[in-house]
Symmetry: C2
Subunit: 166 residues, 2 copies
DNA sequence: TTGGAATGTCAACATGGCTGACATAAACTG
DNA sequence: CAGTTTATGTCAGCCATGTTGACATTCCAA
């Protein structure tokens, strides 16, 4: 991280124009990033909030509501509305904690796993295609900039969920 | 990174886990990306839709409503509500077209320019910091992946707005 | 002159953020 | 044990921003 390469750091003197281009690229790319899952979600009457919940429950099965609140950065009322519909529709199962019976541990049902897989499949397809088009070195740079762009709290969250030691 | 295989293309053999990490990085980074402008917008009773309008009007002064609709990808009713408030608040000026009097050409007023500058200043500061932390080569890769991630239509839009030949 | 394009406006609705208030149950603390 | 804190759920309402549908106006162009 941060090693100096002679003659290279001058590229970080960015004009206003270059900076604006970067901002627009982020905006347009994020639209593309969410476009495919959005189409599937729409067919089920769901939104991005449902996608995020499915994603992170799938990622850490048995996570608690409070845990999820921290990751998603929304209010419990907002999350509850989303979880309510997912539970009612049989995509998520909520189990009362054994150690602490106030807690609810969240799991995807088979139905939930099926939708989650469909969503991550189309989204992953686009990400893979972009990675392939840009090449391995570009991907490494992409990840570095994204990580540096996060809020420190989010970055810590992000680092914490990394179990592979990458 | 996990298991190393000979050759360079192995970096594009992504495990499910690596792909999910990339998706999460995009999600968290976008949150960071919008966090600073959001705080300013909130003080004015505006949202991201107002920011986007201000950004693109500033970028191409005199753009028409229809033009803006194409860039932003929303309905005219939705955009109109946003433009209405910006015009009423004296941040945007709408001038009837000379050649085609049905068209409205949009410009930022001094007041509008001031807010736009404040927004792009805080957002640019974060982007700059991320660029600096990641380094020039990472930035080049970042931009390549973002561009590859856009929808083809958006990418064409994006390429078209590039007047500097960057 | 007539059709259609560009724009604006009104109404209604949905999603998903938010706050505030309150209920419940369980865990913790003195 | 009593009181406090924590985790969760729920109700009600507000706001920003997306949607569709309907309709008026203006005016270019065939």
């Amino acid at each position: 991280m941060g090693e100096q390469r002679p003659g290279a750091e001058n590229l970080l003197f960015l004009t206003d124009e270059q900076l604006r281009r970067g901002i627009e690229a982020m905006y347009f790319a994020y639209r593309g990033f969410t476009a495919d899952p959005d189409r599937i979600l729409e067919q089920h009457g769901y939104g991005r909030a449902h996608h995020r919940a499915l994603h992170f429950i799938n990622r850490t099965p048995g996570t608690t509501v409070n845990n999820l609140l921290g990751i998603l950065g929304v209010t419990k009322q907002s999350l509850n509305r989303v979880l309510r519909s997912l539970i009612d529709d049989g995509l998520v199962q909520s189990r009362i904690g054994q150690k602490d019976k106030r807690e609810r541990h969240l799991f995807l049902t088979d139905k939930g796993k099926t939708l989650e897989r469909a969503l991550s499949e189309v989204q992953g397809r686009r990400v893979r295609a972009a990675y392939r088009a840009a090449g391995p070195e570009a991907v490494a740079g992409f990840r570095q900039v994204l990580e540096a762009m996060m809020d420190p709290d989010q970055r810590r969250q992000f680092a914490f969920t990394d179990e592979s030691g990458s």
